[in-house]
C-alpha cells in the first residue's frame, strides 16, 4: 500500500469551540489506483487531503492518528523532510486554477522552480526543456510559446493543465487532486478527466481524487470512499458501490442526481434537511436526522464501520452483515 491513513483526527479551533472536521478516519491508497473521496461541503474530504500534505491553516491541527507513506509516518517528519516529499513524491492540484498559479510569474518559471527545487543539480536549460516536455505531455498546444505566457493569458482549462504539468513534473507516486474539475465547464471537465486518466497510465502513479460529483467518480475512480461529517460512511470498489449502494446516504446522493436517462416528471428524490452543525452534532449517527430509514438505535448510538459483502458500511441496517429490511 502506497499511502495509509490510520485513525486520523483533525480538529479546528473556532470562536465557539473545537470542530472535529475529520474523525478517526482510516483508509489506504494502493499503488497505481485512483481512489475517489466523495462528500458534500463540510464532510471533511478536503481537510483530509490538507492533513496529508501538512497544509492545514493555523487554527487546525492533526489531533491524533498516523499518515503512513510507504510505511513512514508523515506526521513525524520535520518541515524540511516534508518539503522534500511534497512535490517530489506527493503532489497536489487544487480546485481553483485561477488562484493556484502566481499571477506575477511566467508559467515556465513556476514549473521550473518546482523542478529545480527537487533536482538542485539540474541546470536551467535542462529544466526548461523538461518544462516544455511536461506542457506538451499535458496537451498544451505549442508548448514552447505558451511556456512564456503569464497565467492570466490562459483559460481556466489551460491553467488546470499547467497545474497538472507542475504537479507531475517530478513524477510523484501520488497525486492528490482536490476537486480538479469543479471550476471548469463540462466539455473542459471531460478533457481534464481524460488527461488524469492518461497521466496515471503514463507515470504509473496513484491518484487521490477528491470530489463532490458522483458522476466524476463513476467516470474515473477505481475505488470510492464516501464521507459524511468527517467519517467514512461507506467504501467499496467503484462498480460495487454504484451497483449496490448500501448506506442510506450514498443511496440518497445517487438518487438525487438528475439523470439524463430519466424521463419521468416526478419530483427528484431528495435527502431532507442539511448537514448538521459541527458544533452541535446529533448524539447517535450523524446522518440520523436526515435518514429515511432511521431507527431508534440510530439516535442513541454511533454505528461502527464494518465489512458487509465487498463494502465497508457504517450503518445499523447492516449490523448482522446483511441488510435488515
Amino acid at each position: 500500500m502506497l499511502l495509509e491513513v490510520k485513525n486520523l483526527t483533525t480538529e479546528f479551533k473556532v470562536k465557539n469551540g473545537t470542530v472535529r472536521a475529520v474523525n478517526n478516519l482510516s483508509f489506504g491508497v494502493n499503488e497505481g489506483e485512483i481512489l475517489a473521496i466523495v462528500g458534500e461541503s463540510g464532510s471533511g474530504k478536503s481537510v483530509t487531503s490538507l492533513s496529508i500534505m501538512g497544509l492545514l491553516s493555523d487554527n487546525g491541527k492533526v489531533a491524533s492518528g498516523e499518515i503512513l507513506y510507504r510505511g513512514e509516518d508523515l506526521l513525524k517528519k520535520s518541515e524540511d523532510e516534508m518539503r522534500a516529499i511534497k512535490g517530489d513524491k506527493i503532489s497536489m492540484i487544487f480546485q481553483e486554477p485561477m488562484t493556484s498559479l502566481n499571477p506575477v510569474y511566467r508559467v515556465k518559471d513556476q514549473i521550473m522552480e518546482s523542478i529545480l527545487t527537487h533536482n538542485p543539480k539540474m541546470d536551467k536549460k535542462e529544466a526548461l526543456k523538461h518544462t516544455v516536455d511536461m506542457l506538451r505531455t499535458v496537451g498544451i498546444p505549442s508548448p514552447e510559446e505558451r511556456a512564456e505566457d503569464y497565467p492570466h493569458q490562459m483559460s481556466g482549462g489551460m491553467r488546470q493543465r499547467v497545474m497538472i504539468a507542475m504537479a507531475l513534473s517530478c513524477q510523484p507516486d501520488l497525486l492528490i487532486a482536490d476537486e480538479p474539475t469543479t471550476a471548469l465547464d463540462v466539455t473542459i471537465q471531460a478533457q481534464i478527466l481524460e488527461l488524469l486518466y492518461e497521466m496515471r497510465e503514463k507515470f504509473k502513479m496513484s491518484v487521490m481524487l477528491i470530489t463532490h460529483d458522483l458522476g466524476v467518480v463513476a467516470e474515473a475512480a477505481d475505488r470510492v470512499v464516501v464521507m459524511y461529517c468527517g467519517e467514512i460512511v461507506e467504501s467499496a470498489d467503484v462498480k460495487a458501490l454504484f451497483e449496490k449502494p448500501m448506506h442510506p446516504y450514498t443511496l440518497g446522493l445517487l438518487k438525487s442526481i438528475p439523470r439524463l436517462e430519466d424521463e419521468s416528471t416526478d419530483p427528484l428524490y431528495m435527502i431532507r434537511g442539511m448537514v448538521p452543525n459541527p458544533l452541535h452534532m446529533p448524539q447517535g449517527c450523524p446522518f440520523s436526522d436526515r435518514c429515511d430509514r432511521c431507527m431508534d438505535i440510530c439516535r442513541k448510538k454511533k454505528p461502527e464501520l464494518r465489512p458487509v459483502g465487498d463494502h465497508l458500511v457504517r450503518c445499523f441496517l447492516y449490523e448482522n452483515g446483511e441488510e435488515t429490511k
Binding site: V14, K15, N16, M270, R272, G273, M274, V275, P276, N277, L279, H280, P282, D289, R290
Partner: protein, 304 residues
C-alpha cells in the same frame, strides 16, 4: 409543500433557534471588548471628552485660570502647585492643556464630520453613477491630493484668515479627497454584489439603493477611516497651531503651546513635553481605537 415545511423544521438544528438573534453591532462590541489596546484607548478618549465638556461648563474645576498671566512665575518647574509647570507668561500648563482638549477634540470631530459628509456624498455619487460624473469628481480630488495637505491648509488659511473656525474649514477641505476616494472604492466593490443587483430587479430607486443597500455596507470602513481621521485632524490642527496659524491668543491649543515653547526647549523642556505628550497620546488613542474597530467590523472575524 408539506415536504418543504418539514425541511424548515429539521434545518433549525443548524441555526439553533434557541438562541436569540444577535444584532451585528452587539457582536462588534463583543469583539471590540476583547481588544485591550482599543478598550484602553476608548477609556482615554471618553476621559478626554469628559475633560473637554466639564472644563467648558465649569471652568471652576481647573486648578488655575489658564489665561491668567504672571510673569514673575514664568517657567516654574513642575511642582505641587503647578503640576506641569508654567509657560513663558507664567500660565499654568496643566490647566491650559485641559482647556486645550476642547479645542483639539472639537477641531478633530468637526473637521472629520464636515469632510466625511462631503467626501461620502462626492464618493457615493462618483462611485454609484460612474461615467463622466465619476471622472470629473475624481480628477478634481486627484488634483487636491497632489498638493501636500498641510501646504494646502496653509494656503486656505492665508486666504481665509486666522482663527480656529477657519482652521477647521481648512482641515476639512484638505481631507475631503481621501474620504471621497475610499467611499468610491468601497461603493464600486459593493455595487457589484448580487444584493445590489437584486434591489434593482425589485424596482428600488437609485437613492434607496445607495442609502439602504450600498452605504450601510461600506459603513464599517467609513467608521474606521473616520476614527483614524480624527487623529490626523488633531495632528493637522496642532501643526497649524505650531506654525502660529491656528487659534488666536490667548486661547489654549496644544500645537500652539508647543510652537510658542519651542524657543525655550533647552531651558524649559516641560513646556514642550506636556503639550507634545497630550497630542501624541490622543492621536495614538484614536489610531488604536480605529485599528480595533477595523478588526471588530471585519465580518470574517464575526462569523464562526
Amino acid at each position: 409543500m408539506e415536504e418543504n415545511k418539514e425541511i424548515a423544521e429539521t434545518s433549525s438544528i443548524t441555526v439553533g433557534l434557541e438562541e436569540k438573534p444577535e444584532s451585528i453591532w452587539k457582536s462588534v462590541w463583543d469583539s471590540l471588548k476583547k481588544n485591550k489596546a482599543a478598550m484602553i484607548s476608548l477609556v482615554f478618549i471618553i476621559i478626554l471628552v469628559l475633560v473637554a465638556v466639564i472644563t467648558a461648563i465649569f471652568p471652576g474645576v481647573l486648578p488655575h485660570d489658564p489665561y491668567e498671566q504672571n510673569l514673575a512665575k514664568s517657567f516654574a518647574f513642575p511642582n505641587a502647585q503647578y503640576w506641569f509647570g508654567t509657560d513663558q507668561l507664567g500660565r499654568d500648563i496643566f490647566s491650559r492643556i485641559l482647556v486645550g482638549t476642547r479645542v483639539s477634540l472639537s477641531v478633530g470631530v468637526i473637521a472629520v464630520a464636515v469632510s466625511l459628509t462631503c467626501g461620502v456624498l462626492l464618493g457615493s455619487i462618483a462611485g454609484y453613477l460612474g461615467g463622466k460624473v465619476d471622472t470629473i469628481i475624481m480628477r478634481l480630488m486627484d488634483i487636491m491630493l497632489s498638493i501636500p495637505s498641510i501646504l494646502l491648509a496653509i494656503a486656505f488659511m492665508a486666504a481665509l484668515g486666522q482663527g480656529i473656525d477657519k482652521a477647521i474649514i481648512a482641515i476639512s477641505l484638505v481631507s475631503i479627497p481621501e474620504y471621497a476616494r475610499i467611499v468610491r472604492g468601497e461603493i464600486l466593490s459593493v455595487k457589484q454584489n448580487d444584493y445590489v443587483q437584486a434591489a434593482k430587479v425589485i424596482g428600488d430607486k437609485n437613492s434607496r439603493i445607495v442609502f439602504h443597500h450600498v452605504l450601510p455596507n461600506v459603513m464599517s470602513s467609513i467608521i474606521v477611516r473616520a476614527t483614524l481621521g480624527i487623529s490626523s485632524a488633531i495632528l493637522d490642527a496642532s501643526a497649524l497651531g505650531f506654525l502660529g496659524l491656528g487659534v488666536q491668543p490667548p486661547m489654549a491649543e496644544w500645537g500652539d503651546m508647543l510652537g510658542r515653547a519651542r524657543n525655550y526647549i533647552l531651558s524649559a523642556p516641560y513646556a514642550m513635553i506636556f503639550p507634545g505628550l497630550a497630542i501624541s497620546l490622543s492621536v495614538l488613542a484614536f489610531n488604536l481605537l480605529g485599528d480595533g474597530l477595523r478588526d471588530a467590523l471585519d465580518p470574517k472575524s464575526r462569523q464562526n
